[in-house]
């Protein structure tokens, strides 16, 4: 390997940033995929796979955390995902498909715009 320069240290550090933020548990955005046996049966694993792929394609995004959790109690509306943006109340999306989660990722996670037609109806009235 050739000799390292001060700017190379910054570059390596930047490449490691997503991993370090994950280990510090620091994320501006938390995307929670509800798993459990019911969620997995309804296809939550494929939703997670899509989210992983979307993140992998966008290396510039460092502060999105993908988290799994147990059943949220609405097994018939699964697959279900909760998106938490910093300083905003959590938004629950239900009856997801791979296409829907791609759109949610693009619009809500990337651009902060809630995709209202996929959200859990009860929470919009609140």
């Amino acid at each position: 390997m050739s000799k390292i320069k001060p700017e190379d240290v910054d570059r390596i550090s930047e490449e490691m940033r997503r991993t370090i933020l994950l280990r510090e548990g620091v994320g501006r955005i938390r995307v929670i995929v509800h798993m459990d046996t019911c969620g997995i049966a309804a296809g939550a694993r494929s939703i997670m796979k899509v989210l992983m792929e979307e993140l992998e394609e966008r290396q510039e995004i460092k502060d999105v955390l993908l988290i799994t959790s147990g059943c949220a109690g609405l097994c018939n509306r699964e697959p279900m995902v909760t998106v938490e943006l910093e300083d905003e109340s959590p938004v629950k999306y239900v009856d997801l498909t791979q296409e829907k989660i791609k759109r949610i990722f693009k619009e809500h996670v990337m651009n902060g715009k809630v995709v209202t037609e996929y959200i859990l109806a009860t929470e919009t009235k609140g």
Binding site: P6, T19, D36, L65, T68
Partner: protein
């Protein structure tokens, strides 16, 4: 680096590895692959996380979930429940003593909450065998900053202004030490890392090297730049195989990256280093002996000043923890560092908590914290609701501090005034069942074995003190022994050449100072109040409490307990070897020590 959704940080310090954490790590990897999660979840071995009492420890990020005492047999369930289904596993969580509700997150556990990490800043965060992960936590940025934007003088000024003092025990201001060697115009110069950790119960230095070897390398490179040194030694002992392996690997990686070698960062600064493995003699932690050992001779201390110099060349020797603090100071600035701590002791200190304490492990706390907070809050108090008796700080040559001084703030001066010392950070907690005369005897035995024998005051003085203390423990103490110990102790302190001899009487002097009544009970009443010294105690069975369950009869190794079933038992004192097993096994507290 490839993205994962979860990182499982598995503690792989020596303490957890001895509890099979490496097997847990391998089982996790196998189970994760079996479930097809290997592209989503990464298993990362880290250095010591500190809460050794409940190891093996794993921390799940980004949620920060803390699992304790994880066994290989737990792994399959854990992977299915948490990593596949997203459900936390309560049975592996930490439950505070006396409580029922488990605490899921590491940051909410009291043991971790009140710590302040500088030397252990990478704790549980990085794989120590990957330099990129260290760089990810701002590693080598301090070296880049020093080399490209600071003069050696400015580096020394920064370290001086920070108030950093030697973490090996004596507490000499690091910046002043550097400045004096900087002024010397004799080349080549050397920097040495003193990792010859020999105190019983101490594992700070080993843990730092195992967890974050690059922080030590970076600190030494900065120090070398400041004083104009071109080579460094890490002096450690062969009994630290994992620390040596990780440090060797780290040095090799740093060389491959050009962070060690010639023309570092293209600035013309040359620096390289190697590991020197000592055979594990306590006296080698003393700097003049250490230097003599590297030179290939018998490690005997020498008169100082001036002899702390390797090959008669200007040499700076600092402790592992001191070096690990340096990059943080250069990067964050002296002002930041000097705001932490007390008037005379700045920054933080790493301690290893051991002995009769619930949360045994490795901690880093701001200077000025009280011993009470360390023992009762972070340390979780004394097991089995026993009473606290003393805490021994500073290793074999430190001192025992009694309950009345528990509110003492931890800094170099306060501990010295109390007759103990900061030392390198070993802290052994003793409960009411500890005999202080017996403790003094234990440490004197250690020091007698470790004295190099160069000065007669140390060699003969320690032996003489040990003989008297042993006699006291055996009920052969005489009037005047205490006063003679005090006089002899003062003489050994005054007339020994190096720190080992000068501080060797401390265990005796500090126990006499605070627990004189225990010495007196041994001598005048032939009685050991803590019930420890075998020659002075007798075991008997209280017939009114004994139920005749015969548990003691079954466990007695010498068939000394006799009696009928369901009737009170008696101990045959001619056969009793005073091992104390009956006392420990009796469920009714019928066995008494008198």
């Amino acid at each position: 680096m490839k993205g994962y959704r979860t990182n499982i940080m598995v503690c792989a310090g020596t303490n957890c590895i001895s509890n099979k954490s490496w097997e847990v790590k391998e089982a996790l990897e196998a189970e994760i692959a079996k479930r097809g999660l290997e592209d989503e979840i990464l298993v990362v071995p880290t250095g010591c996380v500190g809460f050794c009492a409940v190891g093996p420890i794993i921390i799940v990020q980004p949620e920060g979930i803390f699992y304790q005492s994880v066994k290989v047999s737990d792994v399959s369930h854990l992977v299915e429940e948490h990593f596949l289904k997203g459900k936390l596993v309560k049975s592996l969580m930490y439950v505070p003593p006396g409580e029922k509700e488990p605490i899921p997150k590491m940051k909410d556990i009291v043991f971790f909450r009140d710590q302040r990490l500088i030397a252990l800043r990478s704790r549980g965060m990085i794989n120590p065998e990957r330099i990129e992960e260290y760089i990810g936590l701002d590693g080598y940025k301090a070296l880049a900053k020093a080399l490209t934007s600071m003069t050696p003088e400015e580096v020394i000024e920064e370290v001086k202004a920070s108030g950093l003092r030697g973490r090996g025990g004596a507490g000499f201001p690091t910046g002043l030490k550097w400045e004096s060697r900087k002024k010397a115009k004799d080349y080549p110069k050397y920097v040495i890392c003193n990792a010859d950790e020999g105190d019983p119960g101490a594992f700070m230095d080993r843990s730092i090297i195992e967890a974050d070897p690059h922080s030590v390398i970076e600190g030494m490179a900065i120090g070398a730049y400041a004083i104009g040194a071109s080579y460094g030694y890490i002096y450690t002992r062969v009994e630290y195989p994992l620390a040596i392996k990780r440090m060797e690997w780290a040095i090799q990686q740093a060389r491959e990256y050009g962070l060690l070698g010639e023309n570092i960062f293209g600035t013309g600064f040359n620096f390289n280093m190697g590991i020197f493995k000592g055979a594990g003699a306590f006296v080698c932690g003393e700097t003049t002996s250490l230097v003599t050992s590297i030179e290939g001779r018998a490690p005997e201390p020498r008169q100082r000043p001036p002899r702390t110099e390797l090959w008669n060349k200007p040499t700076v020797i600092n402790n592992v923890e001191t070096w690990a603090n340096v990059p943080a100071i250069i990067l964050e600035g002296a002002e930041w560092f000097s705001q932490i701590g007390t008037e005379t002791s700045k920054g933080t200190k790493v301690f290893s908590l051991a002995g009769k304490i619930n949360n045994a492990g490795l901690i880093e706390v701001p200077m000025g914290i009280t011993l009470r907070e360390m023992v009762y809050k972070i340390g979780g108090g004394i097991p089995n609701e026993k009473k606290f008796k003393a805490v021994q700080t500073g290793g074999p040559s430190g001192g025992c501090i009694p309950e009345s001084l528990l509110d003492l703030p931890v800094d170099y001066e306060r501990l010295t005034e109390a007759g103990a010392m900061m030392g390198s950070g070993g802290m052994i907690v003793m409960d009411e069942n500890t005999c202080m005369v017996d403790v003094a005897k234990y440490f004197l035995e250690f020091l007698r074995d470790e004295s190099c024998g160069k000065c007669s005051s140390c060699r003969e003085g320690i032996s003489a003190m040990l003989e008297i203390v042993t006699n006291i423990c055996q009920g052969k103490g005489r009037e005047g022994d205490i006063e003679f110990l005090e006089e002899l102790g003062a003489a050994v302190t005054d007339t020994s050449l190096c720190g080992l001899g000068q501080s060797a009487p401390n265990p005796v002097l500090s126990t006499i100072r605070y627990f004189r009544d225990e010495y007196e009970a041994h001598i005048q009443e032939r009685r050991c109040p803590a019930g420890v010294c075998k020659e002075l105690i007798q075991y008997s069975i209280n017939p009114e409490i004994c139920t005749g369950c015969l548990l003691c009869v079954k466990t007695c190794p010498n068939e000394a307990i006799v009696g009928e079933k369901k009737r009170p038992q008696t101990i045959n004192l001619d056969k009793c070897i005073k091992c104390g097993v009956c006392f420990e096994v009796c469920k009714f507290k019928a066995v008494v020590i008198t």
